[in-house]
């Protein structure tokens, strides 16, 4: 039983990693007042770029760089539309998601001729698991051994990076000048502008950070979690990250727990496939799969707590006499 739990938590960590990275990415963007439903597209774009570059150069790290570049470029398009041209944030996000969905397939066809895939990656072209020192030796220590060896040890570096990004984000958002300005710009851009700070510059920087984190998430999908790019491999993770961001009320630590919860539900869904629970019968996998979305809707409806986002979110900033 305990072993099963550790295994499920282990799976939770793997599944949660892209969610955490993407949700934190969304946090930077949305706390700065830019709605980002383009997380999905950025993850997908990065997954493709990372896998493609890793396949060509044989290095996961080079892949990562390209993944991040792709994702940041998409974030800059979003910025160009929403910040520079005061476009609708949602429309811009939909546009980016759509473009990426088409472009990744078109380009992979052109470059690799494999119908929307990239070549399978192996060796250095993937991020491999890191085994902690003495992991094997300590496995037999009761309780802690299993946690150390199977749960904490044995993930790739991006998993650890994702978890590390949570305290880092907390620190950036609440303890630095950049964070103060970023939060202010999401609440009242006029206050920031009149304080002599460029609203656009802060928002662009927030989007760059957002792009970098989405880039990590995408690279994780194609060069760490999987061994190559598959058509539409982001499979709604960007939207689920958005749900987690709302569920965590735009705060780093609660967002982490929302991601873990959603990841855990995913792990449970896989475990429960075909399992018959006495008295209830077989729980359909789909019922567990939809839980993150249902929970988010319930939260938004105010049935479980209340989600109040940054005040100026989604509104283009227009300089004017107030």
């Amino acid at each position: 039983m305990f072993e099963t739990l550790v295994l499920m938590l282990d799976a939770t960590m793997r599944v949660s990693t892209p969610l955490i990275l993407a949700a934190l990415a969304g946090l930077y963007s949305e706390r700065a007042g830019i709605v980002d439903i383009g997380l999905e597209g950025k993850i997908l774009g990065s997954a493709f770029a990372a896998a493609a570059a890793a396949a060509v150069f044989g290095s996961a790290w080079i892949g990562l760089v390209f993944g991040i570049l792709a994702s940041v470029s998409l974030a800059m398009i979003h910025g160009f539309a929403c910040i520079t041209h005061r476009g609708d944030h949602i429309v811009s996000g939909v546009a980016i998601n759509t473009i990426v969905a088409g472009l990744t397939v078109t380009l992979s066809m052109h470059w690799f001729g494999m119908g929307g895939q990239t070549p399978a990656l192996s060796g250095d072209a993937r991020f491999l698991e890191i085994t902690f020192p003495f992991a094997d030796a300590l496995r037999d220590v009761p309780v802690l051994g299993l946690i150390y060896s199977d749960l904490l040890s044995g993930h790739n570096i991006l998993v650890y990076l994702a978890f590390l990004m949570v305290p880092v984000t907390y620190w950036v958002i609440y303890k630095t000048r950049f964070g103060l300005r970023l939060r202010a710009v999401g609440e009242n851009p006029h206050a920031v502008d009149t304080a002599g700070i460029s609203v656009a510059f802060i928002r662009y920087r927030a989007l760059i950070v957002c792009g970098i984190l989405c880039g990590l998430a995408g690279a994780y999908l194609s060069t760490a979690h999987n061994a190559g790019f598959l058509k539409d491999m982001s499979a709604g993770k960007g939207y689920m990250a958005l749900a987690a961001l709302i569920f965590g009320k735009w705060r780093p630590v609660p967002v982490l727990f929302a991601c873990l919860l959603f990841g855990f539900l995913d792990a449970v869904a896989i475990r429960m496939q075909g399992v018959v629970i006495p008295g209830i019968g077989e729980v359909p996998v789909q019922a567990i799969e939809v839980l993150p979305y249902v929970l988010t809707v319930l939260l938004l409806a105010g049935f479980i707590g209340k989600a109040v986002g940054p005040k100026a979110i989604g509104r283009p900033y227009v300089k004017e006499r107030a």
Binding site: K175, N188, V192
Partner: protein, 524 residues
């Protein structure tokens, strides 16, 4: 003060600014001596805010230049303005409401990449500023929890913290009670004594006379006069502002009020945050009278209009109107109130009274769109709407008389005529009318006032809300004064004078000695 060797704190030379076809500022020259309080007065739309926005770097002037302390400066952004030692207190505060006072003050002047580096220094500096200018405030308080007067203080602190030597205040008393305003002026005096130069933008003559050393008058985008405050008078300034003798009286006969058409009893209303916005308001409105509601903006007048017109539901009390009793349990919405022959000209025609994207003929039926006159069985009768709109445009002299023109493209006065015509032509029993002449040019004001009196004389009841005391006194037959959501005074228009009303608006009339205690929340 006029010492020629000492450079002016700020000097504007031939500043011009055009927005499309509108010349907002034309060849503006202004000299402000250091260490003085300089007033700039003008009507709404005279170009004061544009000018201040240019000084603070929100807009760049098309031509002309600015000198600060005798040095020519380029102000392209707020950052440049701050660098030049200019600070601004905006009409609508530029504060992050969810932040603490400290965070707001630090924003943009954090003192390092990490907040930790600047936070202690900021505390000490704020302490010093607070003592020097008697600007006491709890620096750890969340801004949205502070009363308006204190929020304004945060704005001043923000400017001073950035080392502002020139402080611009744009209509600073619009949201303040007279007591809070008094306190503000004491602060400004203290600032002046410390050598700060203050530019005070307002359209209120009283404030100019009471607090400034010099005053400049703007009219239609131009600077028309400069005066030493000691050597001018309200009357002269008023004349300079509007360009012709102001006629503050309206020709009207004695009112002949008859039966009560509407009576409100103990009406209270809470906002979404649970704050009580209307407190136990009772009033009676009679046929053939104009009841004026005076008060500083934001003291419950808007809420009163909204409740009476059915836009919001009251939480306590009841209203009797047209044989119906309306209460929290038996509410009526705006459409139902219209059916009972209540018309409403809202305070803000852009936000509420019009859909500016609609063509005039469509906007002209807003609220009456379900009326049989404009509808067939299934579809709306466009021709009927157009015909009626044309007729009204002719009758009310709306220019241009084009029912297909987008409402947004009419001038303020003509938009207001469209709204008033719409409401009055429905021949209501009761007309609620808020700020009837806000942003309306002088010619149209007289016209609108005459129409209101005409409606009264035809036996209708009119409830007039205005923040312009002159308008209230000129039009009303009876005046109620609101303060902090409650009716605090009532008087016959014959007995009303500015001083009495002013005291009532400050809720200081019955007991002038307790002024301090009335200063709600102004002291921490």
């Amino acid at each position: 003060m006029t010492n020629k060797t000492m450079p002016y704190a700020i000097e504007l030379r031939d500043i011009s600014k055009r927005f499309g076809a509108v010349q907002a500022n034309k060849d503006i020259c202004l000299q402000v001596a250091a260490g003085t309080i300089h007033g700039i007065i003008g009507e709404n739309g005279a170009g004061k805010s544009t000018l201040m926005s240019i000084i603070y770097g929100f807009y760049e002037a098309d031509s002309g230049h600015i000198e600060v302390d005798g040095q020519r400066v380029q102000i392209r952004s707020s950052e440049d303005a701050i660098q030049a030692g200019i600070g601004m207190v905006h009409q609508h505060f530029m504060l992050v409401e969810t932040f603490t006072v400290l965070e707001n003050v630090m924003l943009g002047a954090e003192g390092g990449a990490l907040l930790k580096q600047g936070i202690d220094a900021a505390r000490i500096e704020l302490q010093r500023l607070a003592e020097e200018y008697s600007l006491d405030i709890d620096v750890d308080a969340i801004v949205e929890e502070l009363p308006v007067g204190l929020q304004q203080r945060v704005e001043i602190l923000k400017a001073l913290y950035r080392g502002a030597r020139i402080l611009i205040l744009d209509e600073p008393t619009g949201v303040l009670t007279p007591q809070e305003a008094d306190h503000l002026f004491r602060i400004l005096k203290a600032l002046k004594e410390q050598g700060v130069t203050v530019l005070l933008i307002t359209h209120k003559l009283r404030e100019i006379m009471a607090s400034t050393d010099n005053v400049s008058v703007m009219r239609q985008g131009e600077m028309v006069a400069h005066r030493e405050t000691a050597h001018t008078s309200k009357e002269e300034l008023a004349e300079l502002m509007v360009g012709k003798k102001v006629r503050l009286t309206v020709n009207k006969d004695e009112a002949k009020p008859s039966q009560v058409l509407l009576s409100a009893k103990h009406v209270s209303q809470f906002d979404s945050q649970g704050v009580k916005r209307l407190k136990d308001v009772s009033l009676e409105l009679r046929a053939g009278e104009i009841l004026g509601i005076a008060g500083v903006s934001g003291n419950g007048q808007s809420e009163l209009l909204n409740v009476l017109s059915g836009i919001t539901t009251m939480d306590e009390g009841e209203i009797e109107f047209a044989g119906e009793t309306i209460s929290a349990k038996t509410p009526k919405n705006a459409a139902q109130m219209r059916d009972l022959k209540m018309a409403h000209v809202p305070e803000d025609r852009h936000k509420m009274g019009l859909v500016t994207g609609f063509e005039a003929y469509e906007a002209a039926v807003l609220g009456y769109h379900n009326s049989a006159a404009y509808n067939g069985k299934i579809l709306m009768n466009r021709q009927a709407m157009l015909d009626e709109c044309k007729t009204r445009m002719a009758a009310w002299d709306v220019r241009p008389p084009n029912p297909h023109l987008k409402t947004a493209n009419f001038s303020g006065g003509n938009q207001q005529k469209i709204v008033i015509a719409r409401e009055v032509e429905q021949n209501p029993d009761v007309l609620l009318i808020g700020q009837p002449t806000r942003g309306v040019d002088i010619g149209a004001i007289e016209n609108i006032h005459e129409q209101i009196v005409k409606l009264r004389d035809s036996g209708k009841a009119i409830l007039l809300v205005s923040v312009e005391l002159d308008e209230i006194m000129a039009l009303s037959d009876r005046i109620l004064v609101m303060f902090d959501g409650a009716v605090v005074g009532q008087l016959d228009a014959k007995d009303a004078d500015e001083r009495t009303l002013g005291l009532m608006m400050a809720n200081a009339f019955t007991d002038p000695d307790s002024e301090q205690s009335n200063e709600k929340g102004a002291a921490v």
